[in-house]
C-alpha cells in the first residue's frame, strides 16, 4: 500500500502487550519514525484522522485483535525485518 503523492500517510500505532517480545518494539518504532519523518506522520489510535493501523507485535503469535479496523489498511510488524520493508514501501 503506497501513499498518495504529496500527502503524508498517518498510521495509528497499536502495540501488542509485550509479554515476551523477541525484539525491542519501541526501539524499532523509534527508528521508523526517524527514517520516515518526512513521509509518515505516526499517530495513536485515538487520533481521529488516521489513515491506517501499524500493528507492532513482539512475536509471531501477534496477539492483537485488529478486527475492528476493517476499513483502513493494516501493516503488521512482527520482527525488525518487517519494519525495514515498511520503510522501503513508504520511501
Amino acid at each position: 500500500m503506497r501513499h498518495k503523492k504529496g500527502r503524508k500517510i498517518k498510521p495509528g500505532i497499536k502495540y501488542c502487550g509485550g509479554c515476551n517480545p523477541k525484539y525491542d518494539r519501541a526501539d524499532v518504532v523509534k527508528k521508523m519514525q526517524h527514517v520516515l519523518k518526512d513521509k509518515v506522520d505516526f499517530g495513536s489510535l485515538e487520533d481521529e484522522e488516521i489513515s491506517g493501523i501499524l500493528v507492532v507485535v513482539g512475536c509471531e503469535t501477534a496477539c492483537v485483535d485488529a478486527s475492528r479496523f476493517k476499513k483502513i489498511p493494516i501493516w503488521v510488524i512482527t520482527q525488525p525485518g518487517d519494519a525495514e520493508k515498511f520503510i522501503c514501501d513508504m520511501k
Partner: protein
C-alpha cells in the same frame, strides 16, 4: 480516577495511616523506608506500565460493570483471552522487576469472590453478589491495590479451627452488631500488605458446621482501626539500607515484602461482608482463589527470564559462554522456564465460564502448573549458581571495593574476561545471589514452594481432578480386556 499513574499511586499510599512495625519500632513513613521502598516501586510499575502504549494491551481491560478502561489488576475475567492476558501480564512484570510485584493476590481474591458470592446467593437468597459488585466498582474506579488475605496462623495443623487451643489461630467473628461484625485473628505471609489500599480476607481451609464462626470473608481499608502490620524479615534485607544503587543489594530497583497482619477486634460494616457463616462455601472460595493464584505464578517465568539473562551474562564475564556444558545448562534453564510458561498459558486457554459470568482457569492444569513451580525454579537457581561460581557468596562488599587501599585489589583480581569491567561482573553476581538466596529468593524460591499452597495441596487437587477410571478403561480396551469391573 479510573487509572492512577505511578506517582498518584505513591501519593495515595502517603495518605494512609497504617500501623506498621519493623525491627521493634513503629514505622511512621512507610513509603520512604529504604527496606520497604523497593517493594513499593514494584507495585508502582503495575500502574506505570498500564499507561505505556507498548504494554497497555496486556495491562488494561474494559470493565464489565462500568465499561471504562481499567488496570487489568482490578478486572474480572470475561473470557479465556482475559485469562491468557493475565498469564502474560505475570511474565511481563516478573521480567521487568525480577521479583514479586505483589498485586496479583488481590486480583485473584476479587475474581474468586465474584464467583463465590454469586453461588452463595443462589443457594441462600443472600445479597452478597450485589455488595461485591458495589465493592468492585469502588476498587476499579479508584484503581486500588488489594491484599488477598487467606492464610491464617493455623496453630496445630491437625486440628480444625474450633478445636484449636487458641481460637484466634483462625480469623473469626467475635460479636455481631446492628451495623456489622467484630472480627479477631491474624493473617500471615501477606504479600504487599503495606503497599495495599485494601485488605480482602478469606477463609484458609474448607470448614464444617462447627467452624461456622470462622467461615467469614470481608474487605476493609488497610488502615482500619485495629489492624497492625509486622514486617517479615528477608535474608540480606538490611543491605537495602546501604544506599541507593548499592552493588550488594543485587536488584537495585525492586523487591517484594510480606507482613503478618493482626486484626485486634476490628469492626467490619455489613456492606463489606461477603461470606458470613456459610461454612459450606468456604472450601469453594479457597479452591477458586487457589486455582487463580496458582495460575498467577506466571510471574516466576518472568523472574526466570531475568535469572537466565544474568546467568548468560556471568558466563560471558567468566569467559565460559562457549563451553558446551555451560551452553547446555542455559538451554536447560530455558527449557524449564518455558515449560512453566506452557502451564500458565494452558490453564488459561482451557478456562471456562462460571455461573456468575466470570471465567475461571482449568483447575487441573493450574495445579499441574503450580506443582511444576514448586520444583523448576529451584533447578534453574541451581544451574545459575553452578555457572556463576563461588564468588557470588564470597565477594567482599561495595564498601571494600570503594576503599582506596583495597579496592584496587578487588578490581584486579575479580576481573574475568578482560573485555568487561570488574564492577559489571560484581553486579551480576550480586543479582544472582539476590535471586537465589537473598531478598528475591523469598519470592522466587520459598514462595514458589509454599505460596498459593504447599506442594501437597496441589497433589490433592490433581488426584481429585484426573479421571483414573477412564484412563484404566482405555488401557484395558487396547490390550483386549473386555470384562467391566463391578
Amino acid at each position: 480516577m479510573p487509572m492512577m499513574t505511578s506517582q498518584q499511586y505513591e501519593d495515595s499510599l502517603r495518605k494512609l495511616n497504617l500501623v506498621v512495625y519493623m525491627f521493634g519500632e513503629r514505622i511512621k513513613n512507610v513509603v520512604d523506608n529504604p527496606i520497604i521502598r523497593p517493594s513499593m516501586n514494584a507495585v508502582a510499575l503495575t500502574y506505570e506500565l498500564a499507561h505505556r502504549p507498548e504494554y497497555e494491551d496486556i495491562m488494561t481491560a474494559t470493565s464489565h460493570v462500568t465499561g471504562k478502561k481499567i488496570n487489568r489488576f482490578t478486572h474480572i475475567h470475561q473470557n479465556n483471552g482475559d485469562l491468557v492476558k493475565k498469564s502474560k501480564m505475570g511474565r511481563l512484570i516478573g521480567a521487568q522487576t525480577g521479583c514479586c510485584f505483589q498485586r496479583c493476590v488481590g486480583m485473584d481474591a476479587l475474581n474468586a469472590l465474584s464467583i463465590n458470592t454469586y453461588n452463595i446467593d443462589a443457594k441462600y437468597c443472600t445479597k452478597y453478589h450485589e455488595r461485591f459488585i458495589d465493592y468492585l466498582k469502588y476498587v476499579q474506579e479508584n484503581d486500588l491495590t488489594c491484599d488477598g488475605a487467606m492464610t491464617d496462623p493455623k496453630g496445630d495443623r491437625s486440628l480444625p479451627p474450633h478445636k484449636q487451643s487458641d481460637p484466634d489461630m483462625f480469623m473469626h467473628v467475635v460479636e455481631e452488631k446492628k451495623k456489622g461484625i467484630i472480627v479477631r485473628g491474624a493473617k500471615v505471609h501477606q504479600t504487599g500488605a503495606v503497599n495495599s489500599h485494601e485488605i480482602i480476607v478469606m477463609p484458609t481451609i474448607s470448614m464444617r458446621e462447627a467452624d461456622r464462626d470462622f467461615a467469614i470473608s470481608f474487605a476493609l481499608p488497610s488502615d482500619t482501626e485495629g489492624i497492625i502490620y509486622i514486617m517479615g524479615r528477608q535474608s540480606c534485607d538490611t543491605r537495602k539500607m546501604e544506599g541507593p544503587g548499592n552493588i550488594d543489594q543485587g536488584n537495585t530497583l525492586y523487591g517484594g515484602h510480606e507482613a503478618m497482619v493482626i486484626f485486634d477486634n476490628v469492626f467490619v460494616p455489613w456492606e463489606r461482608v461477603f461470606m458470613y457463616k456459610e461454612y459450606d462455601f468456604a472450601g469453594e472460595l479457597v479452591e477458586q482463589f487457589a486455582s487463580y493464584h496458582r495460575q498467577s505464578y506466571a510471574c516466576k517465568v518472568g523472574v526466570g527470564d531475568v535469572l537466565i539473562g544474568a546467568t548468560q551474562a556471568i558466563a560471558k564475564y567468566n569467559g565460559v559462554e562457549m563451553a558446551s556444558h555451560v551452553r547446555d545448562k542455559i538451554i536447560e534453564m530455558n527449557h524449564l522456564n518455558e515449560t512453566l510458561y506452557c502451564g500458565c498459558i494452558a490453564c488459561a486457554s482451557e478456562g471456562h465460564k462460571e455461573a456468575s459470568g466470570t471465567y475461571a482457569v482449568d483447575t487441573l492444569l493450574a495445579n499441574v502448573h503450580k506443582q511444576n513451580v514448586t520444583r523448576f525454579p529451584f533447578e534453574i537457581a541451581r544451574l545459575a549458581q553452578d555457572i556463576a561460581g563461588g564468588l557470588m557468596v564470597t565477594l567482599p562488599s561495595q564498601k571494600d571495593y570503594d576503599c582506596p587501599e583495597i579496592g584496587k585489589w578487588m578490581d584486579k583480581y575479580f576481573r574475568g574476561n578482560a573485555e568487561y569491567p570488574t564492577e559489571e561482573r560484581m553486579r551480576i553476581l550480586r543479582l544472582i545471589e539476590n535471586m537465589t538466596l537473598g531478598t528475591a529468593a523469598v519470592g522466587y524460591l520459598t514462595e514458589s514452594m509454599h505460596g498459593a499452597g504447599s506442594p501437597q495441596a496441589q497433589r490433592i487437587m490433581i488426584a481429585r481432578q484426573v479421571n483414573l477410571d477412564e484412563k484404566e478403561k482405555l488401557a484395558k480396551k487396547l490390550c483386549g480386556i473386555k470384562k467391566e469391573e463391578k
